[in-house]
């Protein structure tokens, strides 16, 4: 019995020893990575300077066009005239009907679903009032978290309504009539366009730092020949990968805090939803980007290739296709499909929802799940593809 106990004790000891051994190796590796980072002042400056600069530069909106923007109708009157006007609005080609709402309470819900960018509300007895009193009012309520789209939808709708009034006034009625559209923005009442760029910048910066930096640091080892020695060493691929990932995970997270703090101090942008949920989602996205970076490094032989793939392959599509600048619904279907495999597209929805609309996980669980799956796929692929030998 005693012997048994003893051997069990020593087995545990060995496990502890091995663990300490492996940990030491691993921590030694992580320490070395931090040295690389902190010794390279220029990269460090870019790491923290660029996000700040982008937040400030992108503080201005870029004008865009709309097409097939989702619009819901809340028709409290439901008469011939409202039906006609609704018809005219949707036949213009700019809008696409998402839903018919029944009451005011539905407005918030339909916005949070995300497809609807504006809701048009006809007041009670819209048609009757228009014929009897010569004036009626409708409201255009739009989603201010996308200020460009919101402004454009409002303007287009107003001009369609004016057009409609003119037509109606011509042959049918001699009296002058007036429909007064009342414009209202939800979520971003002052229509500060900076707001939409903060999530965009976070999305872009994180994927760039994480994917670019990790892929460059791994390919650098290949180029300088140090990877050969690391491979010959008892370090496991997973230790090398995690050792590379850890420092950047840490730095990127600091970057997120920095951007949030900056946008709060400079633009007074608060985080409407749960800050913990936001940070957790950011961590998920950082992990996803890091694993993507490792995947890039396994397919590129030189730093140049890694930089090229990261910049052209990630930055441009992120800017152009993720809905960062150009609304996805304006894109031809093919781009829509392309963008659906782009992780930033989902993260931008998540972060906008949390920061600007203040929604919780119930509205963004699908996007979160997609990101989790992507992370796992990338991680699996890179551990598999990370070679224990040279090719």
């Amino acid at each position: 019995m005693g012997g048994f106990k003893n051997s069990k004790g020593s087995a545990l000891d060995i496990i502890n020893l091995l663990l300490a051994h492996y940990m030491k190796r691993f921590l030694g590796f992580v320490k070395k990575e931090f040295m690389h980072i902190f010794r390279d002042y220029r990269t460090l400056f870019i790491l923290f300077g660029i996000p700040a600069a982008q937040i400030l530069i992108f503080g201005y909106a870029v004008s865009t066009d709309i097409k097939n923007a989702g619009v819901a109708i809340l028709d409290l009157s439901h008469d011939e005239i409202t039906l006609k006007l609704t018809d005219k609005i949707f036949s213009s080609g700019f809008f696409k009907k998402t839903e018919n709402l029944l009451n005011y309470n539905d407005i918030d819900k339909v916005f949070k679903k995300g497809k609807t960018k504006a809701v048009i509300v006809y007041e009670d007895d819209f048609g009757k009032k228009l014929i009897r009193e010569g004036k009626a009012s409708l409201s255009i309520i739009s989603d201010g978290s996308e200020p460009n789209t919101a402004t454009l939808i409002t303007n287009y709708t107003t001009s369609i309504v004016n057009d409609f009034t003119m037509e109606l006034a011509g042959p049918a009625l001699k009296n002058s009539i007036r429909i007064s559209p009342e414009v209202k923005m939800l979520y971003n009442p002052a229509l500060k366009s900076h707001f939409m760029f903060v999530p965009g910048v976070i999305t872009l910066i994180l994927i760039l730092i994480c994917a670019l930096m990790t892929s460059v640091t791994i390919t650098r080892e290949k180029e300088f020949g140090t990877m050969e020695v690391l491979l010959v060493s008892p370090l496991r691929p997973i230790q090398i990968i995690l050792g590379k990932v850890m420092p950047y995970f840490f730095l990127s997270f600091i970057n997120v805090l920095l951007i949030l703090l900056l946008s709060w101090l400079v633009f007074g942008l608060p985080v409407k939803g749960s800050i913990i949920l936001l940070l957790a989602e950011c961590m998920l996205y950082i992990m996803m980007s890091l694993t993507l970076g490792i995947l890039i490094s396994t397919i590129s032989k030189t730093m140049q290739q890694a930089i090229f793939i990261s910049l052209i392959g990630l930055m441009l599509p992120t800017i152009l296709l993720s809905g960062f600048i150009f609304p996805i619904e304006n894109m031809p279907k093919i781009y829509d499909y392309v963008s659906s495999v782009m992780p930033p597209r989902y993260f931008i929805v998540i972060i906008k929802n949390i920061m600007i609309k203040g929604t919780g996980l119930t509205y963004i669980w699908k996007e979160t799940l997609i990101l989790i799956i992507m992370t796992l796929v990338f991680m699996g692929l890179s551990v598999r593809k990370f070679k224990i030998r040279l090719e």
């Binding site: 020695v229 491979l231 060493s233």
Partner: protein, 303 residues
């Protein structure tokens, strides 16, 4: 005596290029074994197979008694490897590089300091300097220290003397010699024939094939013909004139003279007469002992 490396019929190709073609050799314990051959001969590929970094297409590579393909994890703990480009982190200091490699191999600098003290003492005064700022000779010494820090049983050095000046190269070979006392087997490659003499045994390698394996002395002795050195002021004219003579089998420039072999070994007198007749009257012809390079040239001509 056990064989530290035993290679049988190793072959490896990259696309259409046959990098290694049926390579067989064995390395004895604590010997310095040299692979001598030009760039592109296959030295690096062979070393990568020995260090488990590449898999051979065919053949069997046994290192330290273990199969290099299946036992790579165990082997990697016992091999010290210095790749062709000194694999140092340029942005880390001398000290930090050494410490890093020690931790990665699960040891400390203190533990094996005696092994590297001879080498490391040369660069220790500069231990705070970044590796990227060291001279070629110092980089070479640091890389060697890093490769030795975990006390490997087998040390593999891929062209450690390339790009390093003559004094440092000579010091480097002295250091390798001293490592024998620790029972470390060393496999080293170099494109420079004159370094062959510093090895216990050498393999001449060219186009993925081993031309000859033996001690440097025996390889030189393998030269099959009489060798003459011919000197004259106008070297270019001398070479052209020699090559015109049908009696001359080979004429290669070798530093300040031309190494000549003749179809008929005893015709050196007639060679002198021939040169005078061709207008080269200042020629000095001497019989000489063949070097490794002469033998290499002879083997290449046959191949």
């Amino acid at each position: 005596m056990i064989n530290v490396v035993e290679s049988s019929d190793i072959a490896k190709s990259f696309g259409p290029i046959m990098a290694l073609d049926d390579i067989s050799f064995s390395v004895n314990e604590s010997e310095i074994f040299g692979f001598i051959g030009p760039d592109g001969a296959g030295k690096t590929t062979l070393f990568r197979i020995i260090t488990t970094l590449l898999l051979p297409d065919k053949g069997n590579m046994k290192v330290l008694g273990m199969n290099a393909t299946t036992h790579y994890k165990e082997l990697r703990k016992n091999i010290g490897y210095m790749p062709g480009r000194f694999s140092l982190y340029q942005d880390l200091s001398v000290e930090e590089n050494l410490n890093f490699y020690a931790t990665v191999f699960g040891t400390t600098v203190e533990e094996n300091y005696n092994l590297i003290s001879d080498i490391y003492s040369h660069i220790e005064p500069f231990k705070k300097r970044l590796a990227g700022k060291l001279s070629g000779g110092m980089k070479q010494k640091l890389a060697l220290s890093c490769a030795l820090i975990h006390k490997p049983r087998l040390l593999i050095l891929d062209e450690p003397t390339t790009g390093v000046d003559a004094v440092s190269r000579s010091e480097f070979w002295d250091m390798l010699n001293k490592l024998r006392q620790y029972n470390i087997t060393i496999i080293v490659s170099t494109p420079y024939m004159d370094e062959a003499i510093r090895c216990d045994r050498v393999a001449l390698i060219q186009n993925g094939k081993i031309l000859s394996i033996d001690t440097p002395q025996k390889i030189r002795a393998g030269f099959s013909r009489k060798l003459f050195t011919v000197k004259a002021i106008e070297k270019y004219r001398l070479i052209k004139t020699l090559k015109k003579n049908p009696e001359v089998m080979t004429a290669y420039p070798f530093g300040d003279s031309i190494h000549v072999t003749l179809i008929n070994d005893s015709s050196d007198n007639s060679l002198f007469e021939y040169l005078v007749k061709e207008g080269i009257s200042d020629a000095v012809i001497q019989e000489a002992e063949a070097g490794i390079e002469d033998r290499f040239l002879e083997l290449m001509e046959k191949a």
